[in-house]
Amino acid sequence: MTPVAFKSLTDPEQRIEWLVENAADLPSQARIAMAVTKLVNQNSASAAQVAKTISGDQVLTARVLKMANSAFYGAPRRISTLTDAIVLLGMRAIRDMAMSVSCQDLLDREVHGYSIRRGDLWKHSSCVGFAAQQLARRAKYSVAEEAFVAGLLHDIGKVIISHRLSDEFVEITRRSEEQGVAYYDAERMVLGFDHAEIGARMCERWNLPPQLVTTIRYHHNPSAQPDSPPLTRIVHLADVLCMMLGIGLGGDGLRYKLEDGVVASLGLDDEAIEQVLSMVIEYAAMDVEQDTTAPRR
């Protein structure tokens, strides 16, 4: 049931503010992961500093170690400490793992209304993060890890809408089906805003960097963003590629469209896209293997 307090509001801006005020705080693990990201990006952090920051949360530590020992990372030997993990796999890999596992609880929920099963939004988000990182490297974008985090969080607004506005979602789904439009268009018709906007506002509240906030806001329509920076186009392309592979497809299927000229504007060619697709498939398969705790379809 949608809260009565929300229903009494008609102005989209007031509705957004209400949702942001009443949504959950960023999980504490994600706060630690953000701190790790900041530390590693300073380039002067030591392995010990990074390990100490992560070890502030035992569950996060255990999850990072589990991921570090997964087949995907192919470590030459069993990793039992964070310092070992950093030495063997590198600080950047550990930073990405911390961010990834810390967001899993948030994204690994059943997202009612979008016809996305439990686990699928998490799988989609992690694959978009990975795809964005790979595209960023090929596009020679200087901060590929930003692309990873932006890809990971790009659909966070879906979680918020799905969990707080169940009544409105009936109408959103009906509009999407009857008019053959993507959910984000139907969200704008019914709510006056879409999941990208509410996701961006949440990330603002969580004090995430402004470039992440704007990337999340414009990930469906990067050309609408002033100056259309490469990071937004990278996440937009990564999102569409994962949808194309069927990773996290919802009830609105493939009504998400790739904006014209995005591939060429990033200096990418068709072969690079196929390479990234090929890698995402393998990443998705590894993700399924790692995730043994969440119920699968």
């Binding site: 087949a71 995907f72 990372y73 192919g74 890999a93 016809s115 699928d120 790979q134 789904t173 089906e177 569409v240 949808m243 194309m244 592979l245 069927g246 990773i247 996290g248 497809l249 919802g250 009830g251 609105d252 299927g253 493939l254 009504r255 998400y256 469209k257 790739l258 591939v263 068709d270 072969e271 896209i273 196929e274 390479q275 697709l277 090929s278 890698m279 498939i281 393998e282 990443y283 998705a284 398969a285 590894m286 399924v288 699968r296 379809r297």
Partner: protein, 194 residues
């Protein structure tokens, strides 16, 4: 060795991206969930009642596709035998025949290949980024070369699909994401007529 389902397998067997699975157990249902541009290729031997499903992702293997530097290693390359149409189609046929099927009995259904990039190449053929349409062509060509008749298709469009193939009678059913399931064909009956 083909991936054969043993007697302890559950009824619904998920065929993930780039996987191929074959079953002779009559209670089994092979399922490829959430196909986008990917293809769920169902092949069935109606005489020996052997079902095979490949979840194909890309049209053809490129040498460079597997030679990309990456963060992680590729520990299970053999697990991705269904990734490319040009390799997956002969492999699926081979697996069914190893499981006791006969090539001359086989019939196929092609499902998936949704569109997302709507541009056409200069020749009128699908552009390289129109992966769904290229997948359909690549799978059809490979089946044609292998002389396996295609008796039913549900391809294209802009919606995701889940395809299920029943081992008992080759029934192929489709559930568009967010919609009701519907019957495409029975490869068992179609194969007997073919």
């Amino acid at each position: 060795m083909p991936v054969m389902m043993n007697q302890t397998a559950q009824d619904a067997i998920s065929v993930e991206m780039a996987e191929i699975k074959v079953s002779t157990r009559l209670t089994d249902r092979l399922v490829a969930y959430g196909l986008g541009a990917c293809i769920g290729l169902c092949i069935y031997d109606p005489v020996f009642r052997i079902a095979g499903l490949a979840h194909i992702v890309l049209p053809a293997c490129q040498p460079s596709a597997n030679a990309v530097p990456r963060a992680g290693s590729l520990p299970r390359k053999s697990a991705f035998v269904g990734k490319f149409a040009d390799e997956a189609v002969p492999k699926l046929i081979e697996d069914i025949c190893r499981g006791g099927g006969k090539r001359e009995n086989l019939v196929a259904a092609i499902v998936g290949g949704a569109h997302i990039f709507s541009t056409l190449g200069s020749s009128g053929s699908p552009s390289r980024l129109e992966i769904g349409a290229r997948n359909v062509i690549a799978v059809s060509d490979a089946l044609d070369e292998a002389e396996v008749p295609v008796v039913a298709t549900d391809v294209g469009g802009s919606h995701g699909r889940t395809v299920t193939l029943k081992a008992c009678d080759g029934t192929v059913s489709i559930r568009p994401i967010g919609s009701e399931e519907w019957l495409l064909t029975s490869l068992g009956k179609a194969g007997c007529k073919a």
